[in-house]
């Protein structure tokens, strides 16, 4: 019997030591060097409600990715048909995921059909018919392919956002997918939320387009936009007033190059005015392409367009080899470095919208921790005192179990990297309630058994045996509920479910296993007449 007590006590002590080791980094900031080398350094992971920070739910507009894939294919198809001298007219250009063609005669339509079948496996005719003797065909991306594109768009967006956040330098960011097209971004402790949001949400599509200098901008502004052109605006910073002006520009719609070919982007300070600009470097393929484009367009203006806004439109003086270029645009240092980050991380394949945003200031988080901790400590002390007052020495045993319960619960939370949230603190406090209940159940049973005239040892034996089933059933039932909450819950519900689950498991262990050791130790081989209960 003594041997079994020793083994059980050893298990408990080992577990408590392990919990202490896990908790040490959260409790003390001055741990010895050797500790940092060999032992866990994780602190209790606090939810955003406790430490402050930003929580975003983004939705990837995956349909847009499908649309732009279609637009690209349609452009290619158009050029291909012109080469093959197939007569057609494009009536709708990839808007809403459909493009509509009009054909003057049957041979043109047949040629189109065979071209589509041969060279464009991703496209299909959605509907066709004749209007006023002309053949009409609507083209769309095949459903299966569209699904793939959507899935890819979300995955790629996730990766891109992760890259951006990593380079922005947030400690412990969390970027996880949710459902089919949503992304959750959690940035603990972030202060400049507006900047973080613009960094994450920006599409960052970099394009190089030629400025159309043959046609009149004024005419275009009146509404006569020449075929194949588009109006964009250039954003210029007026140094004297510090205001940004928007200047309209007429661009050729065709994208000569895009940001895909970038190898790196970094901030540099200009020699003349000390202005920051972003210098970019293309990969070898991009460099060759850039050399060709600049060679073909000497003396023309090349616009550098980011998300539809022209940043600068310098005149190409000569063929540029070496694959380097600069984006100037009178940025502040912050803007330039953010731009470099998004260019390095790449463009989002589809635009994202912010569906949900929660920002908690650091002071509110601290307040919540302080109050939550205080309330827990007060409640804890009250319970400890009450248990001693009611159960005397046995109450003390229950108190030991309770204290151990808290220790193990927090230790397990650190070990499993579970997040402590505000409802989580409430969950802990409730766990204390459940742990007390287990002890109350046992003690009341022992009392009952004593009343029937049993010896203390027999009463303890019977009390534990009878109470165990009750404790097991009631705790497992709650556990079942907690597991479902974890599966379906979001935010606070999930944080609560985590602490409750761990709390129940730990309290079953401390209330039944730990207290029993103490009881056994005191009644073992002694002829005690009475239990202080």
């Amino acid at each position: 019997m003594l041997k079994s007590i020793r083994i059980r006590a050893a298990i408990v002590i080992l577990l408590c030591l392990a919990a202490l080791v896990y908790l040490a980094p959260s409790l003390s900031t001055t741990l010895p060097e050797s500790w940092k080398k060999y032992l866990p350094m994780d602190k209790i992971h606090l939810g955003l409600d406790l430490q402050g920070g930003m929580h975003l739910v983004l939705e990837v507009d995956a349909a847009k990715a499908v649309e732009s894939t279609l637009a690209r294919s349609i452009n290619d198809l158009k050029e291909n048909m012109m080469e093959k001298r197939i007569r057609f007219k494009l009536t709708t250009n990839a808007a809403g995921g459909n493009a509509a063609f009009e054909f003057p005669d049957a041979p043109a339509r047949d040629a189109f059909d065979s071209l589509l079948a041969k060279q464009y496996p991703d496209l299909e005719v959605a509907s066709s018919g004749t209007v006023e003797g002309k053949g009409i065909a609507t083209v769309k991306i095949k459903d299966k392919r569209a699904l793939e594109i959507k899935k890819m768009a979300v995955e790629q967006s996730l990766e891109t956002i992760r890259n951006r956040v990593d380079q922005f330098g947030v400690t412990e960011p969390e970027i996880i997918p949710q459902g089919a097209d949503r992304i959750i971004v959690q940035l603990p402790g972030i202060k400049d939320t507006a900047r973080a949001k613009s960094l994450i949400g920006r599409t960052a599509l970099l394009e190089f387009k030629l400025v159309d200098e043959e046609n009149s901008l004024d005419e275009a502004l009146k509404g006569n936009i020449p075929e194949g052109d588009v109006i964009a605006s250039e954003s210029r910073l007026d140094r004297t007033s510090g205001r940004r002006n928007e200047i309209p520009l007429l661009l050729k719609n065709r994208t000569l190059m895009s940001g895909d070919a970038l190898e790196s982007a970094k901030v540099q300070i200009g020699d003349r005015f000390g202005e920051p600009h972003v210098s970019i470097k293309f990969n070898s393929q991009g460099a060759t392409e850039f050399e060709r484009i600049t060679g073909e367009n000497v003396k023309k203006r090349l616009a550098i367009v980011l998300d539809g806004v022209v940043h600068s439109a310098p005149v190409i003086q000569e063929k540029i080899s070496g694959g380097e270029a600069q984006i100037t645009g009178s940025f502040t240092m912050e803007e330039a470095s953010d731009l470099a980050i998004v260019l390095r991380a790449g463009a989002l394949p589809a635009p994202v919208t912010i569906l949900e945003e929660r920002t908690v200031g650091p002071s509110l988080g601290q307040d919540s921790i302080d109050k939550g901790t205080w309330a827990s400590v007060i409640a804890g002390i009250l319970i400890l005192l009450f248990m001693i007052a009611y159960y005397k020495a046995t109450g003390l045993v229950a108190d030991v179990a309770l204290a151990m319960n808290m220790l193990l619960l927090l230790g397990v939370m650190v070990a499993f990297k579970a997040t402590l949230t505000l409802p989580g603190i409430a969950g802990i406090v409730l766990t204390i309630g459940m742990a007390v209940d287990a002890n109350v159940l046992i003690n009341e049973r022992i009392k009952e058994e004593l009343r029937t005239g049993k010896t203390p040892r027999a009463a303890i034996e019977a009390g534990y045996q009878k109470a165990f089933l009750t404790i097991f059933d009631s705790n497992v039932t709650t556990l079942v509920a907690a597991l479902f909450l974890f599966g379906f819950g979001t935010g606070p519900v999930k944080g609560f479910a985590v602490t409750l689950t761990i709390g129940i498991l730990v309290s079953m262990f401390t209330a039944v296993f730990v207290t029993r050791i103490i009881f056994d130790y005191f009644v073992w081989n002694r002829k005690i007449e009475k239990i202080s209960i």
Binding site: L355, E357, S368, F386, L430, E444, D473, N475, T490, V493
Partner: protein, 303 residues
């Protein structure tokens, strides 16, 4: 120390009829209150909208706050006091551009109150789409936890016990919602977490008594279920009171010292746990009794 005499013989079963009517009455009042208030007072988690919590250095008049945010495009905002020098501004619509929300709020506050005179403690924005999603998930979480409990208790005990337990849980949730509605509290995700806690606590309590009923039923095959239930509730009474008392202490401390953020959360818990103890004794057991009368399971007990 003993709160109760070691053996009590209260006739709880006799009280069951009036208490069931009492519960029904409270729930009907709750439904009436919900209709009167035009449905639950959903927080932004479920309805969508924005919430801004600001702490001021000096006392600032509500009208000034209202006009400051009105000019920034936050129409129809509700302004609530939230502790000393602290207010919460809520608008039912997300409206506006989500991307520039933070900047807009900051700008509006700076022009109206001047930099350094205020601190924005929290900004939350929930789009209507997400709100719907969160509502659905919250309801699913509750319903599935009920089903999980029903199955587990059904397996460990008998089906009629599971049914009694679940009806008691539904009862507690309804009673809590009644009080939340009567006091015009807001329904948000934290309240859902509270309802779930109540479910967990109440089932815990119910199982303890069921367990005793099961034990006593095996022991005294000849005794009527009325008597068994009465004896069981009496035998576990001191435990019920003790445990509820300690949980109640904890909740009161949280309510008074836990801070504003979890104030409503603990309010719900207090109502729910009281209802949980009550329903265990007066709702769960009568249902088991009722089923016994409809379909006696005497054979089962003779095992």
């Amino acid at each position: 120390m003993e709160i109760l005499k070691s053996e009590t013989h209260y006739n709880f079963v006799k009280l069951m009829k009036p208490t069931v009517f009492l519960s029904l009455a409270v729930i009907i009042i709750g439904i009436a209150s919900l209709i009167w208030h035009g449905g639950p007072n959903y927080g932004i988690d479920f309805s969508g909208g924005t919430l801004i919590q600001i702490k001021f250095k000096n006392a600032t008049h509500t009208d000034k706050i209202r006009s400051a945010f009105q000019s920034a495009g936050f129409e129809g905002s509700i302004i609530q006091d939230y502790g000393p020098l602290e207010v919460m501004v809520r608008t039912p619509e997300t409206g506006k551009n989500a991307a520039s929300l933070t900047t807009d709020v900051e700008k509006a506050a700076q022009t109206a109150f001047g930099a350094g005179n205020y601190e924005i403690r929290r900004i939350e924005m929930v789009g209507p789409k997400v709100g719907k999603d969160l509502t659905r998930k919250a309801i699913l979480a509750i319903i599935f936890s009920w089903i999980g409990i029903l199955v587990y208790v059904g397996i460990r005990f008998e089906f009629r016990y599971a049914l009694g337990g679940i009806i008691a849980l539904v009862h507690d949730v309804l009673i809590t919602i009644t009080f939340l509605s009567l006091f015009d509290k807001e329904f948000d995700l934290n309240i859902v977490a509270a309802l779930l806690t109540i479910i967990g606590y109440s089932i815990n309590d119910t199982i303890v008594i069921f367990d005793r009923i099961r034990e006593n039923a095996r022991k005294n095959i000849r005794q009527s279920l009325d008597d068994i239930i009465n004896a069981s509730v009496n035998q576990t009474l001191s435990r019920t009171i003790l445990t509820s008392f300690t949980v109640f202490i904890v909740l009161l401390v949280l309510f008074f010292f836990g801070g504003q953020v979890i104030h409503d959360f603990t309010f719900a818990l207090i109502v729910g746990t009281v209802s949980g103890v009550y329903s265990t004794v007066f709702i769960a057991s009568p249902i088991v009794l009722l089923f016994e009368k409809i379909r006696p399971s005497g054979l089962k007990r003779k095992k």
